[in-house]
Amino acid sequence: MKENIQTKEEYLNSMHRLGRIFAAIAIIVMLALPTIIAITFQTFPDLRLIFSASVGLLAIFTPIAISEVISYTPILGSSIYLTLITGNVTNLKLPVVTNAFNLLNIEPGSEEADVISGIVVSASTLVTLIIVAIGVLAMVPLRPILTLPVVETATSYMLPALFGCLVLGVLGSNLGGGVKAKGRLLGAIPAATVMIVLTLLLPGLVTSLQGFLILFMLPVSYFTTKYLFKKGKIKVEMPDPQQNKASQ
């Protein structure tokens, strides 16, 4: 095996440094666009108006956004920055990363997971940017096709279609990297029960507060799983190092 040029820490530190720099650049660019327009065309709105118009949405979206950082970073690793710059997390980035982990049998939270996430999130982002660019350039011929009722119906059910493809990989006992966990779904029972009750009683609330619900359910699932693991109800089998060496 080729000698590693960087240590794991050096690699992760460099990716987080890169991510933070580009996150800062992206924030500056996003704010610069309306500012440059305002200065050039002398159309600067009253700051108090910007504040009053923003405060309501900020109060809703900021806690959701922070909860997404907490929930998604352990899965996406250092590609969280590119993910948060370009969005489409639950409908694209998370599924494409999950698919990659399943394909290469990768354990989430490992250095391999971080590296593979970086590759697939970048590739996926470029695809989306290209497709949107095609949509922009070919707006005239494409619009009548993409706004057909059948296409709009199909795309409105994209999330259940996506999750149907991925559910087996996510809910199976294989955690990736040869690690198997038998009985791990037991840890999700309390969270699942709460979600069932909430969905039946307050379906509208469940849809609009998804980010919060993920954040609240995380400790529920985490500590339930930990309790059951310590009690021996969930068993984890690590891969055989000899088998791993043979497969390299």
């Binding site: 933070r20 910007i50 979206f61 352990p74 710059i85 970086g118 494409l142 259940p160 984890v236 690590m238």
Partner: protein
């Protein structure tokens, strides 16, 4: 006096959007290059990585189409460049429309009567209200990831299991409302699940190793196509 449409179709806005998108593209290429190099150092073959890219590309095409549809909606309101930018960065069509509504209501105007200044107000609101995640990631993301990895090092069994609870929780929260909705949503989910299973079985039985890269993209396409049937049956 500058009007709403003077800004929405200005060359300056096109140039600014093009620069912004190029910056994102450069971030993608730099990340891809560094991650690819590291993957090779970790022992992944170029063939494995090429298959991974193929699978990710084919997977990403269909979910990108709703974004284009969203662009058409926003373009009818704001011209081409600004919606192109907004749908290339964080946000969604529903969020952008919510932000537009909030901004215009605060300014006490409607879209038809909005001035150039009202447009800039909308631009600021769309931009500012969704930045919370990106800002907090600068301070939190590294700590969170390193914390999760440290946990794994102390106890590899619990570390692997503990890390898996994140995706499991996300799936639980997102999946249960989808399934309980019943109807076309549930049938689409089940169709997707069954098609995925069938394709895996076929790939294994006939030893079609190439198929694994396309199973998810194919299942997604067929499941979404099936919604037409389910919608017709259930009304």
């Amino acid at each position: 006096m500058v009007s709403f449409t003077d800004i929405t179709e200005s060359s300056l806005l096109y140039i600014l959007v093009a620069i912004g998108i190029l910056i994102i593209v450069s971030f993608c290429f730099i990340t891809l290059k560094k991650s690819w190099q590291r993957a090779v150092e970790l022992g992944y073959t170029k063939e494995q990585l090429r298959n991974l890219i193929t699978s990710s590309v084919s997977f990403s095409i269909i979910p990108s189409i709703p974004i284009v549809i969203g662009f058409f909606t926003l373009a009818a309101m704001f011209g081409v460049p600004w919606p192109w930018w907004r749908l290339s960065v964080v946000g969604s069509i529903s969020y952008e429309i919510m932000a537009t509504d909030m901004a215009l209501n605060t300014a006490n105007v409607d879209l038809a009567g909005a001035s150039a200044t009202d447009l800039v107000l909308v631009m600021y609101v769309m931009t500012i209200c969704i930045l919370g995640g990106l800002v907090s990631s600068i301070f939190l993301a590294k700590k969170i990831q390193m914390g999760a990895m440290e946990l794994k090092q102390k106890d590899p069994r619990w570390g692997a299991l503990g890390n898996s609870t994140f995706m499991l929780t996300i799936m639980t929260v997102l999946l249960i409302p989808m399934l309980l909705e019943g109807g076309v949503s549930l049938l689409t989910f089940l169709t997707s699940l069954l098609v995925t299973l069938a394709l895996y079985v076929l790939a294994r039985k006939f030893n079609w190793s190439w198929m694994y890269n396309f199973i998810v993209a194919l299942s997604l396409t067929l499941a979404m196509a099936s919604t037409v049937l389910w919608t017709a049956l259930l009304g």
